[in-house]
Amino acid sequence: MIIKKCFFTFLLSVGLLMSGCSGRVELNELLIVSAIGVDIKEDNTAVHFQVVNAGGSAGGQGGAPAGASGGAVYTYSVTGKTVYEAVEKASTILPRKLLFSHVTCIVVGEEYARQKGIDGLFDFLERNHGIRDSMLMLVAKESTAKNILTIYTPIFKNPAESLRNRVKQSAAATGVAEGVQEKEVINWIHGQYRDPVIQGVERVEFDNQADDTQNLQNIDANNKTFRITGLAYFKKDKMKGWYNTKQTRGWAIINSRAHEMFILSHKCNHSKGYVGSLIKGIKTDVTPKVHDGQLSYKINVKGKAILQEVTCKINVGSPKELKKIEFQIEEELTKELTSVIDKAQSKKLDVFGFGKLLYDNHPEMWRKYKKDWAEHFSDANVKTTVNITLETVGARVESIHEQ
């Protein structure tokens, strides 16, 4: 019995020793990667790791020992044939081990997306157990990822975090709530026979000074911030072009991504001025129909509007006028929808997942169309109906312009 007991104790200690604390990394042996950037560099892949300098980020904390200072983040750039090669090479220039589990976003340079295609990234990102599939994907508009990742932003010490928050904040303007996640892109390209879109990001004013910490002292914030722009559309994994803001919003509505949206209607009852409103609770319903071999889609959009601003002479108090405003908003939205649909159909890129929709509802038709889906998609007849109800006029009834 004693032998048995000793044996099990032995086994347990062997088990513990064997693990030998393998896989154990102290916090001060780690570099928290907050964002990854990918650029093309002479046919190779340049990977940028934006890493958090914990001492600099959490500065001002009582406990932090002196000496921990410097910028909040640093960006390392490494070039390699593949992402993994770059990561491997990075280990020679990095002072600590990279921790990938807190990557919030991956920024792809426009060049890279156009020439190499984004497919090459996914395998490493998915196979690594630390990286989350749910991180944001962004394309650096007319720029490189490096330009985006080498910027010190005010308010947020960590630009990656600031980027993520910006995506959230801009949801009402661009319509794309929660951004576009990496796993969605994978699923779109490979799982749903659909052409992906990825949100774009650009520097508001290009200024080299923004790379410097000193610049944070400057009160002017515009030269050190990003702007979330329209969507970049892809054909499979190669980037093809950009949607403007209007088209982006159209895309968001069709894909039920828009939770809230600002609308500025230009026509204002024949007088000068604008009517601005916030649309909430947007519900989109897309139904495919096949009639006599002709494919058609019906897009039904419903929503509630809240009046935000009136700068022209309308009688906000009268229900009739409100109906007019509703109608104007509907018109605006329809314009946005048709604009993006036209563009997608002319480029023959199914960015809406219409193919998947057809498959869901009429799998047998889908099999028929699958071969040259791009053609069928561009020939499809798309009808849109928008139905907006003005729910409230806000905290004020009459506008100043009425008097």
């Binding site: 088990g15 796993k183 699923n187 509802n361």
Partner: protein, 364 residues
Amino acid sequence: MNHNLNHWQLSLIVFSFIMGSSLLMAPNLTSFFSGQDAWISMILAVIIGFLINILWLFLLKRYQFQSIFALNELTAGKIMGTAVNITIVFYALHLAAYVIRNLSNFMIANVIPESNPWTYQIMIILLAVYTTYYGFNNIARVSEFLNPWMFLLFIGSLLLTINKFEFSNLKPVFDQKFVYIAQGAYSTTGFPFIEIILLGSVFVYVKQKEKLTKSYMAGLLWGGAVLIITVIAVVGVQGDYMVKRQSYPTYELMRNISVVSILERIEVLITVVWIFGILVKVVVCLFAAVSGLKHISGHTSMRVFLLPCAILIWSMANHIHENMMEFTDFVGQNWTMWWFTLYAVIVIFLIAGIMRGKDKQAGT
């Protein structure tokens, strides 16, 4: 060593056994063949499993729920019976080895890749030996205490993913050919619904035999229901393409949880549920093996066999397959038939025994 358990504890053991290691594997195994119709495969597997177990229980009931080892000797004669018993012992050890390998595979692939798989294997085997040492009653009590928590934890985390659920991921329904659906069901039938016949070595210790069938089936159906729900949730949230891509889709599913910023990244919780299921499964296997050996040897205690069995399980877990893909491939293709063969052999002997009137001798 106290082996007694009541019918409620039996239900929970069956539930954990079913849910156990299949929790992480079932979505991938089914979806690999049947795509978005994986849940139909799963339902099919549960139904087949149900029928298989109903027959099994019906036959055992005719024999007053004697231990399967004793029944084999009774129905197949001394020599053949012993041969079948040795086979059962081997099956049990083999299954335990697989389950443990499965655990270490998972830990290495997803949780701590830098670590040594042996650590996890030795630890879980030690736990299994520790509880088996006290008799089956111990694991029954442990599962009685932990199961409700595990269930809550699992259901709770599933609920947290519900905001990401999209019905379009499950559409179109019945699009796959029936062969594929059946193929998806095939792998999940053996694993875990036929494996559970190892619990036949425990029935003799159940206190209220008249409630046994009902509670066993209840446990089985609950476990099956949880598996079905898991498959639906996994496919519904991630889409079948992503499920096929991932090694452990249920774990990936939990990575999607983000409700408030503190309830992010809690996927490790699902590991607790899963490891508990694995523990129960290994204990049942180990118990079946040692009680089989006890029966064969005619010894009074089963503790002597624990140590060699534990070592054998450990070396088998490492040695039987060289890498993870070979393992997955083997489980996907041969597992169900391999277990069904054992099931069929025992069932044929039992039926033959009934025809020869042997069931009257049992228990008297």
